[in-house]
Symmetry: C2
């Protein structure tokens, strides 16, 4: 059976590519209200595609927000149920002048498809949409039950789906989840991501004098919010680059021995890594390699600082205000809310006389660690091995995919993070791309995964 | 003689006020090229006024820039020569919507004249212009020789005059200088400023990765320029708020015992001071009072920081760059250039791996300390005592008037800093004002000063 499905996929490749191009041409930028109609068009595009393959499809709007596409094919009684997640919205395209081709007119070049949404996430998600189509077209059925939940607020920080998962546990019930919205370890080296960081973010806003003051007339007497901010931020790390917030490491699950060993065998080159971002090296937590710190150690980064005069030349003032956006990336089993409270308490304790502090724009996301020994994980490993011809490596990721935590928490299932992208796909930058080969191979791998999983129940 | 001059001033008060209003109506904003013609008109206004009083006047343009008004009356052989400095240009007026009246239409309210340039510096300078007019009109001569040098780049950072002083030592030769471009200690308490701070300013520009990076994917491995900047700035002060740049205090002339005693007797209220700027207190160098730190101890203030994302909400990036504008206020006998070199060396030594640092927009100005026991200083004290009816106190100032240093260095003379303003005159802010009484009393005091000085040779 699977052989026929794979043959069908092989013979339909060009059609699939043209279809995904059509989808990509819809500029479904969810962060920009001007694209509202396109966002809806994008939802309908994938909804119609799944419907014509034989899925029952509905558009669900939950407490406002963009509709979620829910689709199911549940005609394999006794067999496992997969829940496949993806998103039909895309990132904004600015700075437009840095694009070498039209952001929403996909072009093929050097084996890649270039356009906004190719890798993130339309191209990757479409591999599963086409895999089920190929199964249904070739055999009239799927080897397991399959549900899709495809949202339209992933790139705009919306929470429709998060709220929905809490109340739709029965509807979304499944044995495992699948997400293709991440990257391989490198070209020719497929990977499965089993660890994701969480986040705790906040902006500190420091207010000093009621207006900007002359730094000569008032300097030395009036506390400068800019200097105070720097002192407070500097105090977040000690000399070993450990984070100093009291209790910060209490719940940190350190790397297992097997992980450190596995990481060291990946052939990750510090030199190449640093060169790829234009530097010769970097500092970080003592006792860990750059890769370990990136993937599996908690971090604290300034995202932005606003303070005083920022124009050309000088203006010798004591600024009235200074603020900093700060994000902590957290690892299992840190609790973002607990970290945020400890942080605020600590920072407040550092606030000097003459400065008022407030905290705004807080956000949280939990970290996730996925069991690498489950039967579904084994099926995913086998499917990738067969589809890509190379055994995947297990990797972790410094980024966060908060829905994975929601699926763990409310549906009680792990997610198979099978990313077909590459680290240099420019997913939030100009000239986003996705390998056309990875697109085809992803469709086949998804078809194989369904087959493998059918043997598990 | 002086009595007649003072009577003439008294009877001409209203005329003087209307004249200074006419001058103030010229929007001579030197920082904005759109006002170039008005700047020239302003120069001519004061030039014509001095000419019609009987001065020899010329407009001097030195190596480009706005013309300087030079005027002299040198018909008192054997008598001292005063050089009176002032500036005919004014600050910009934005934010315009915070003005309660038209910036360039002077209005009288509560005994003050409100408009841009009233206190800084047209109103103050005009007191000397009218004092010499009253002398010449009443007696046909001046009791001493008087030169004026009035520049048009004080508010735009121009350096025509600085360059000119170096080459025009013979022309500007004098026994003492007079500047009225500062403030009294408070209402009813005239003052002479005898100490000015210097400055050493620079912007640190830190460059990390070649572009903004995802803080999840790269955090922990790539050095964050924002965090690095804060660490470096925080390291500029120790726990006692002493500045840590090596050698920073080597040349600092500490406060004399008489100064600390005199300061403590001024009745400066820390509480009122802090309340006036909207705070309850402030931190500063250990071992010194707020007033001592403001006036006579070196300081280090952040003027502005630019780093990463500054919009609404969050953007979880490692910024590619971070920069900070920093100004040190220096006291006698610190050398700004030496401090700047030591600072750059120190900051560079703190720069972590993965960050490149460069220094831009450097500027320097020397500190000044003026002998309070000179005969001309005594004359100024007596003149103020007679004119204002109150003995002036000696004060220092955290701001810088770099031309005072040039006069010391190239002309070999001290300056009498006889300020008629008040600290709340909003000189660089909306709703600038100047006391009309101080304007009249300033004219009389200037006339008395000339008389007193005529007895010194």
């Amino acid at each position: 059976m699977i052989q026929k499905v794979l043959e069908s996929i092989e013979s339909s490749k060009k059609i699939y590519l043209e279809q995904v191009k059509d989808w990509i041409r819809i500029p479904s930028i969810s962060a920009d209200p001007n694209y509202k109609e396109d966002v809806i068009r994008s939802a309908n595009y994938v909804a119609d595609d799944l419907r014509s393959s034989g899925f029952d499809v509905e558009l669900i709007t939950h407490e406002g927000g963009n509709p979620m596409v829910y689709a199911e094919w549940m005609k394999a009684p006794g067999k496992p149920t997969a829940l496949i997640y993806g998103h039909y919205d895309v990132q904004p395209v600015d700075p437009l002048n840095e694009w070498k081709s039209e952001p929403f007119e996909p072009i093929e070049k050097n084996g890649n498809l270039y356009a906004r949404g190719t890798a993130d996430d339309k191209g990757q998600l479409f591999t599963h949409v086409k895999a089920v189509e190929a199964w249904l077209k070739t055999t009239g059925s799927l080897p397991i039950n399959v549900k899709f939940i495809i949202e339209g607020e992933e790139e705009s920080g919306g929470d429709s789906l998060y709220k929905y998962v809490k109340v739709a546990q029965e509807k979304l019930k499944c044995d495992f989840c699948v997400i293709s919205d991440s990257s391989q370890f490198g070209p020719g080296q497929p990977a499965i991501t089993y660890g994701l960081k969480g986040m705790a973010g906040v902006e500190f806003v420091l207010t000093g004098p009621s207006q900007d003051l002359h730094s000569g007339t008032f300097g030395g007497a009036v506390t400068n919010p800019g200097n105070a901010l720097c002192k407070m931020i500097a105090a977040l790390h000690d000399e070993n680059r450990k984070i100093t917030v009291p209790g910060f490491y209490d719940d940190v699950k350190d790397l297992d021995a097997w992980e450190r060993e596995a990481f060291s065998k990946l052939g990750f080159s510090d030199k190449e890594f640093f060169e790829s971002v234009g530097v010769t090296g970097g500092i970080g937590e003592k006792g860990y390699t750059p890769l370990e710190r990136k993937w599996a150690r908690p971090t604290c980064d300034i995202n932005g600082i606003t303070c005083g005069y920022q124009g050309v030349g000088s203006k010798t003032i004591i600024p009235a205000r200074a603020s900093a956006k700060v994000t902590f990336r957290l690892v299992p089993s840190q609790d973002p809310q607990k970290i945020l409270e400890a942080l605020k308490k600590y920072i407040t304790s550092l606030c000097p006389e003459g400065i008022k502090i407030e905290f705004i724009d807080e956000f949280c996301a939990g970290p996730a660690l996925i069991n690498v020994d489950s039967e579904y994980m084994n099926a995913a490993v086998e499917a990738i091995k067969e589809g890509f011809g190379t055994k995947p490596v297990f990797i972790r990721e410094g980024g966060s995919i908060p829905i994975v935590v929601s699926f763990q928490k409310y549906l009680g299932v792990d997610t198979l993070l099978m990313g077909w992208g590459q680290n240099d796909d420019n997913i939030h930058s100009p000239n986003e791309k996705f390998s056309i080969d990875a697109f085809y191979t992803g469709i086949k791998t998804s078809a194989i995964l369904l087959d493998r999983c059918s043997k598990l129940k």
